[in-house]
Symmetry: C2
Subunit: 461 residues, 2 copies
């Protein structure tokens, strides 16, 4: 951390915003200075502002533009790549209080919302009208739609229903010139001009400060069926996933939990799974009525044919919850052991067993505990690197392992980030993954839309 | 038309390409000088080149870059907005002979193809492996995937399955600096860097010449059920569409054919529908087995409840084809009356009856025959403006009507183009629809990625 920057921008912010919208108390600044990414650098911002509407957002960006001070957009701060981490003297714009739902329109199947609304809150309001907003990142009880859009968040159901990008029709942003601009559309289809709304999705605050989002909705779906399978090794589990995909079945979730997770859960809750299984696969199916039960049974058949040592279909919600317990408890079980760095690589589906084997070898070679949760149906793996608190050599070994995992994901034809974003943690990985020409095109777009370099500079590119 | 530009670029092209790849015979040039858009201006290019691979595409763009000559990318030339129309002295790059399928991978559910492959040909190859490429523009027997990607083509099934954008994972392009660049990914998920692959989709050749496309595939689906409903007026038909949407039912097609179309079809084929119906609604459902039949029956119930004077569900493929005959024959039936200008506005679903009423009034006020086919489930309308051959005053009245329709679509919260693109015909409409700040951002992106302005200049922006 450096010292707090001199305060002319703070005075400028106070001149254009109500006094209670601008905070420069150091304790508060510290609590807004970073997201949930372990090991990503951060420094104290000059101020945190909490705008209440788009006009206030615009006033903030204009003040920052005038003083050439970086704007760091922030939703709930649940990001896992450091994308919302402050730089010294920057202005963190927390949209957490912009939580209004402007409309939910069942006839058009869309909602128009402010960026600060929490994912689960929007889903609950949609459900009241028989509608469904599918993207379901694990952070959905806390993370905001604005943050979800900025990172193009995924989740468990995207194996069937796609990611945030697939649900964004339009956005309103404050751009790099301090203009409030509406991009995209409200209609079901539309190809008028370049797809700048799409470009904003996943741009991690580097191209605009999002002030409003129009999302596409689906009709509410049938209740899900849940299945579980225990496997003696990764190869069998991988074969089950491949055979489900090849059969034309599309589960509404297909999750993998590895031995290290199962052991951590057992050490905490004594579910006894790790004695029976090396790998746990969890599936969901949501076709309506008998079709959903048939899909669940078919998944069980694929589990068994691939050599599952145990398989079961839940008959009610309580049983489903019990089957998903190991998945749900994996993260807190690991956190008991020390700080957890959540990795997020995505590889071709067929490469999942090979990637998991490599991750295990990397963990052993570097003496780092690495557990794995994976959206197996998508090839999206979350290796979870755990190090004991305060053990600096272990932390250095873990960082070596982290970079090795990224290199191996690229080697297998994968990407360095499936759904968490580049932020600060994956900047080197991005350079390793993409060609210099591709990166130069991205920098050219960034420079074109943010000519003064005030929008979350230093992130992604 | 102006005279052909001097030929230094032609010599330069001949220096880097096999002789048979470069054509400057005026008769051939004329046949490649424009797409299927009525009334869009075009001029003779200096040359047509027909590259066989990405390296030849790159050589063309480099030669054009050196001579500062516009590159006009072209697929099959089935576009309806003039996006592939040549300017005087430009070089038309026809990718029609780049038709290879590099791979179809059932395990990853993706295909990697060259841009010149025809949509239906790709679909047929995918079907052989139990896979499905959904986007189904009406031009699918002739149009290329490259053209589909460049215009972000839609079709009938997108009411349930989305548009071309939703199936593009990655592209390889020659960019404005003459570099061959791979954008996007092969994995199911990925958020590494700005979404430039997505930005290329629908950019109509203004940001890059597409040389390869990686598309997402779905498992083959169940055969569709087909239903038809006759309605005495637009209000009843509109109510049926709204009630289907509100019920949570998602048809795999929901098409509307209006009285003017029905009369044109009857005048040609004497199907006798126009005596019984003012508006025809056609629906399809593709849930597997009994569920699909139930969805079809539910659509029929919505038709009847909204006041259909007749409704039917096809029991076999032949009957389904008969029910869809009026939709299939509408366009050729109208072409018998004169050149047809295909409009392509998209309005909120609830505004479809109002928009159709306004279109009818515009036709009457300007004494222009305007028939309507509509992707009613999406609010995407195709008013078809027909004028007698050689009737210049009628053509001027039709152009007035064309602009009036665009203005009314914007007035109802719609967009000037739902799936055909801006090209030349909708440039004024784009300016009317989008804010100056939005357009300036698009121009900034264009300038950043095509600094010398050689990629399809004058189109879209």
């Amino acid at each position: 951390m450096t010292t707090i920057a001199p305060a002319p921008v703070v005075d400028a912010l106070r001149a254009v915003l109500p006094a209670d919208r601008v905070v420069d108390d150091p304790d508060v600044l510290a609590s807004y200075a970073h997201d949930d990414a372990e090991w990503a650098p951060w420094e104290l911002p000059a101020a945190v502002v909490r705008p209440l509407d788009a006009a206030q957002c615009q006033a903030v960006v204009r003040a920052c533009l005038e003083h050439r001070v970086p704007v760091v957009p922030r939703g709930a701060g649940t990001g896992l790549s450091g994308g919302a981490n402050a730089t010294a003297g920057s202005v963190v714009v927390s949209v957490e209080q912009m939580t209004r739902i402007h409309e939910i329109d069942p006839a058009e199947r869309l909602a128009v919302v402010e960026p600060g609304i929490v994912n689960d809150d929007l889903r609950a309001e949609c459900a009241k009208q028989g509608l469904w907003y599918p993207p379901d990142p694990a952070s959905s009880p806390w993370s905001t739609i604005g943050g979800n859009v900025a990172t193009n968040a995924g989740g468990m159901c995207c194996v069937k229903y796609g990611v945030t990008r697939d649900y964004v029709l339009g956005v309103q942003v404050v751009n790099g010139l301090g203009e409030l601009v509406r991009l995209g559309r409200r209609t079901a289809k539309g190809v008028a001009g370049l797809d700048l709304a799409g470009l904003m999705v996943g741009s991690e605050g580097t191209l605009g400060l999002i002030t409003e989002i129009t999302v596409k909705l689906r009709p509410a779906r049938a209740p899900e069926q849940t299945v579980a399978g225990y496997f003696a090794n990764l190869v069998d589990a991988g074969r089950a996933v491949a055979s489900i995909t090849a059969s034309g079945l599309t589960p509404s979730a297909l999750e993998l939990v590895d031995r290290t997770c199962l052991e951590a859960v057992d050490a905490w809750k004594n579910l006894g799974i790790s004695a029976e299984a090396d790998v746990l696969l969890l599936g969901r199916a949501d076709a309506p009525g008998a079709a959903g039960e048939a899909e669940a049974d078919e998944m069980i058949r694929h589990f068994d044919a691939a050599g599952a040592t145990f398989s079961a279909r839940a008959t009610d919600a309580e049983e489903a919850d019990a089957l998903f317990a190991a998945r749900r408890l994996a993260y807190p079980a690991l956190e008991r052991l020390g700080p957890v760095l959540t990795e997020d690589v995505c590889v071709p589906r067929a490469a999942v067993p090979e990637m998991l084997a490599r991750i295990q070898a990397i963990g052993e070679a570097n003496r780092v505990t690495i557990a794995n949760i994976a959206h197996a149906g998508d090839g999206n793996l979350h290796p979870l690197l755990v190090t004991p608190v305060g053990d600096e050599p272990a932390r250095e070994r873990a960082q070596t392992a982290f970079h090795r995992i990224i290199a191996d994901a690229i080697d297998l034809g994968g990407t360095v980030t499936g759904e968490h974003g580049v932020g600060l943690l994956k900047r080197d990985g991005l350079v390793a993954e993409q060609s210099p020409e591709n990166l130069a095109m991205q920098r050219a777009v960034k420079a074109a839309l943010d000519p003064h370099g005030i929008l979350n500079p230093g992130k992604v590119l």
